[in-house]
Every structure is written in C-alpha cells, then in structure tokens.
Assembly symmetry: D3
Homo-oligomer: 137 residues x 6
C-alpha cells in the first residue's frame, strides 16, 4: 500500500534574478523588477511529498522526526532569512528563480532520504507562483 505524505515548511529570503553573461538591457527586459540590484524578497512555502510503503508496525510511512530534521538542516538552516545570491553556495552561480530553487531543494533532500522513498517538492514563491519537481525522468 503505497501512500504519499506531505510535510510543509517555510523560509523567508531575499534574491535578485539576473544573468551575469547578459547586458543590463537584456536582464531588465527578461527579469524586469526582479533584477533590482538591491534585492527584493519572498516568503517561500514548501511542500515536501514523500511516497512509499506504510510500515505495518507503526502505521507511518516515515518517522516524521527524521523528515523534519532533514528539512530543517538542508533547507531552513541554509536559506531562511538569507540573501540567496550572497549568503548561499547553491546560488552563487545559479540564478535563484523559483524553478531553480525547487530543483536545488529536491536534490538536497533527495541526498538525505532513504532510497526506497520517492520525493516530490512543491515550492510557492508567492500564493500565485508555484513550481513542482519530481526528479529526473
């Protein structure tokens, strides 16, 4: 009996979108206000969906204390109240779009998760801007 379980988390961060290989004019054309050199920010909402078999002894898919610790260490400690461009290794050379942030978080959690479990990450940049990643296919 394969089920999926979701745990939610949040982090608040500043970022700026731009491509250092482009002219300022092209950056403004593509990224508009998101290219503010002084940064802007978001409340990022995170849904971490894990799929697998229910453990018949506990009735749980996963001990949530483990999943919670993974999310805290891999996502919240890294990104919460940070400037994604300046304060993180992950986005020093990667444009912190919602798409890229979602994929990076998937890889960070995937590396710590039991191989038997499947993983889907949904990232809310705003209530109206959502990205989902389920891994390479």
């Amino acid at each position: 009996m394969k089920v999926s379980v979701c745990r939610k988390a949040h982090f608040n961060a500043a970022h700026r979108l731009y491509n250092p290989n482009w002219s300022e004019a092209r950056n403004n054309e593509v990224f508009g206000k998101c290219n503010n050199p002084n940064y802007h920010g978001h409340n990022y909402g995170l849904e971490v969906w894990v799929s697998g078999e229910i453990d018949p002894e506990t009735g749980y898919l996963i001990d949530l204390k483990i999943l919670k610790k993974i999310i805290e260490e891999e996502v919240e400690d890294r990104f919460d109240h940070k400037n994604l461009n300046l304060d993180t290794e992950e986005f020093k050379n990667l444009n912190p779009t919602a798409e890229n942030i979602c994929v990076v978080i998937w890889m960070l959690i995937r590396a710590q998760l039991d191989e038997k479990l499947d993983l889907k990450v949904r990232l809310y940049e705003t209530e109206r801007n959502i990205v989902e990643y389920t891994g390479p296919q």
Copy 2:
C-alpha cells in the same frame, strides 16, 4: 530537469445547466437549482500548470509574460463577467458544467502553447467543487 509551473487566474461568470433535448422535469431532476432559467453564477478559479525543461540561460520554464498573455486573451477576455450560455461561442451548444469549462479552457490554451510544453488545467467552480484535465490520453 523537467519542472511544472503554475499560474493562477480568475473569472466571474453566470451560467445555467440544462440539456435542450430533455424535458423540463428531467432537467430539474438532474441539474436542480443549477437549471434556473434566469441563471446563477460563480467566481471561477483557474490553475494553469505547464511542464517542460528549465531554460538554462534564464532559469525559467517559460517567459511568464507569454503565459499571462495567453490566459488573458483565451480565458479572461472570453469568459470574465460574461453569461457563458448567452455571451460565448464555446457554450452556445455545450452545457457549461465545470467539467466542460475545464476541457474547453485546456483546448484554448493548448492551441497557443509551445508544443514542447505539457499542460494541465485545474478549475475551481467553488472552493469545494474542483475539476482537473490533462488532455486526451
């Protein structure tokens, strides 16, 4: 790296559910209050989910200005503040149930969307009545 991105939209419209080939009694039995000949209405909520590869230069799946324009022209300009039965070509001869509206919106957006991208449309007729369509399978 294939991700999905969601853009939300809204439109407010009036409609009436009935089948012109049926008797009034049968229409009332199946559609109940939704068969009011003077119409009723809803705030329709729309989630347009597009899937595909992230562009490595922008970090975006799609230029949202393009998707926004498609939704405005194909959905909002057509249906917002309209009577679906009287004011639209699409529902002149098609019962405007949430299921049919969802499929029609999918087809309207699909026709304007890059072939490389997959499309899923989720329509909220109310907070408690939701339909989803991902295309012919």
Copy 3:
C-alpha cells in the same frame, strides 16, 4: 462575559450592476463589465457574527441550530442559485452591489434575531472584495 461567534454560509448568484435612471454611457463608465445586460455571477461567502453573553448552563452563546435555520431561511433560500435582479424582491429596485447585499442580509437576519444579541455581517463577493456592516450607528 460577552463573546462573538461566527457562522459561515455560501450562496452562488448572478447579478448585474446598473442605475436605471442613468444613461447607458454613464452606467458603463461607473459599472464597466459589471453592467453586462446578460449578467455575470459570484460565489458569495458570508460570515454572520453574533455577540452576547454566554449561557452558563450550555456554555453556548446561541443554539446554533437556531442561527443556522435563520441563515438558511433568510439568505440561502432567498438568494442561492438565483438571479438577484430578476428573482428577488430585495433587489428589484436596489442595485445589487456587495455593499447593498451586505446591508440587506444584515436587516433580514436582524429581524429574526433575539434583541439581546448584536449582529455583524461580512460578505465576500470575491476573495479580494469584502464588505462589512454592523448596523445603523
């Protein structure tokens, strides 16, 4: 110990905004798309807040069965799945703006409610358009 208790309700209705004493041009200027002669519609959300003393025997402010019945009879039976302009007495000669609908609902519930209780009505025309009325002051 005076507390306030809220009960929520919903109704779906069609309406058109216009002033019959005005020219078509003036109606379009003020009411824009809301002046569609074929109507549009909304999912109206309702919060009915009642204030008063807690009954020490029940621990309740009001027997909710009574409040529920009032809302059903005075609001839902009257307005749900109706065309406000055509199907109701209340808006035959009153423009069904969110403001006017909110005041009308307040008066309909007030007339049925125990005099010892205070009443506030909050109406959501959409998630982004809210009106509140607490009675004459």
Copy 4:
C-alpha cells in the same frame, strides 16, 4: 476526455496512536504526545478525487448526488464525532494514523464506486499534515 472531479468533506474525531505489542516506553518514543491514553483529536479534511469520462448528455463526470451519498454513508456517518479507537470497527485493531485512515477511506469508497471510475483520496489531519492514496499499484 478523461477528467478528474473533487468533492470535499470533513469529519471531527478523537484518536490515540499506539501499538499494543510494544512497551509503553517504545510507544512514547515513537508516538510521543499522540499516545495520550485519554485521546486527542483533529478536524479531518477529505478530498475525494474521481476520474473518468465526461457523460456527453449531462456534461458531468458523475452525478454528485451519488458521490455525496457514498461519502456521507461510508465516511461521515462512520467517523464524524467518533473516537476512532473505541467507536469504529475499522480501527479496533489498526493504528489510526493519517496514513491508515486515508487507505481505509479509499477502500470504503472504492467498494461503492462504479468500476469505470478511478479514485484518489487525500486526507488532511491538520493543514500541515497531508496523506494521499490512489490504490494498490
């Protein structure tokens, strides 16, 4: 044209998580506060997603009166305002974790649903703790 339609429901129940084959120490270690012998409780939120072909005559996937009746009889009448451990057959010998409740509800609805329709059940134990089950795979 295969679509999915969602109907929502709610029930409020008490429960306790524990494994009768384990020591009290092990139960406390795994289930923590959820192992309170006097029980605690939740507002469970339910999304029942049904998939299949749209009926061309009605424009509906399913007559919602049928689905509503199934959910009321199989879920709400059984579990609403109940103590899951003491008042139900289903959880007399099965730990009422969100995972197990979700699977049980899926099986109860599946048994009453037309074979042509697919079924997915999503259960919210809290706003932050969600489980999804789509049947054996």
Copy 5:
C-alpha cells in the same frame, strides 16, 4: 501610535460537551453528536491579538519571544494533545465549548501580559466555527 499585532498558534485536543446536571435526553437534544461519551476532537486554531504603543527604539509592539513563550506555556503545554475534559484543571467543571475555551485562554494569557497591553483572542474550533473574546466590558 497604537497598533495591534497577531500571533497564531494551534493545538489538537479531544473533548465532550455535556452538562452533568442534565438528563441524558436533554444533553443529547442540546449537544447532539458533541455529547459522545468517548469524545471527539478538533484542530483548534488560535489568534492572539495584542494592542498597544510601538516601542520607538525597536519598532516592535512587543518582543515576540515573550508572547510566544506565554502562549506555549499557558495554552500549548496545557491543551495540546490533551483530552480537555479529563486532562485539564480548567475544564474539569466547565463545559469545553468553543466559547468557554476562548474565554479561558484569554484569562490565562491576560494574567501573564503587561498591563499596558490590550488583548483579544480568536479561537477557530473548525474553519467554520469561530469565537472571539476581548475581555470583560
């Protein structure tokens, strides 16, 4: 410049509504399913609103670490994952209706809060059942 600031919290608890001085028939008539002797439960949502002057040095109304600690000690530690009727002093002899729970929480927080600050407590028993208390008037 007097502002209001809200902090949210949650607790999950079991309860039963009844009046020990009444017959079983009268309890069932008034409290219905809420009178289940084996208890049922809820996810209670809490909004604690504090009003007062902004501190010009910090720009804060209140050091949220203090308010958070008060809510944890006075509300969450007392009521979370508890049976309100059996596990708490406050509801041993007081019917745990949403109204009474809201007033009790107000009194518990009021006793720990700086006298200069005003207090309002809003309790969500469900998303559709809300109580608010602002103290004796």
Copy 6:
C-alpha cells in the same frame, strides 16, 4: 448606513531590522536572524479597509478605481520589488518592522483619501505575523 469595504494588494520586498544606535550584540539579541546585513525578504499582504456611507446613486461606498489607483501609487510603486532599507525614503531612518510599515502605509493612503472616509490598514508580513493600524486615537 455606514459600511466598510476591503481592497487587497501585495508587494514583495527585502528588508533588514536593526537600530543603528545599538551595538551589534544588542541588535542580534533583539532582531536575531532579521538583522542579516545582506537582507532577507517577504511577500507582504495588504488589506485596506475604508468605512463610510453608501452612495445611494451607485450603491458603492467608494469608486474602487480611485482606491486602486491610490494603493498602486502610494504603496505598490513605492515598495514592490524594493529593498525597504536602501530603496525607499520612508525607511532610510525608520526600522522597517511590520508595525512601522503598517503605520507608514496608513499615513500614505490617509493623505490621499477623502476626509469623510475612515481607514484601517492590515499588513501580513507572513501568514502568521499580522499588524493592524486604524490611525491615532
């Protein structure tokens, strides 16, 4: 008949909380992670509540085109996709706490609003951190 009407808006911004007259140690003690010198950010949600008499000719409290324009010019153009500390006049010398942002927005809108109308501003820094200001009292 005095009613209140709400219009919602959003803006995304970066900020840093600190008092330049304090030591770094004191700033860290009071503002913690919010004192990151590289900034972090939020999706700010805004509810602008205006109260007054319904215009009997329109059934409106206020022409929403006017209120919308005020919010765009006074709030969104000033603060959206900005660094509040670096890019704005208002917070050059004022700590951009949610309390101070809420009061500043109230004053900016108040200055443009008809004297006959009352104003309340509610600011959501996150879904869990809310401030409300109704003017000097």
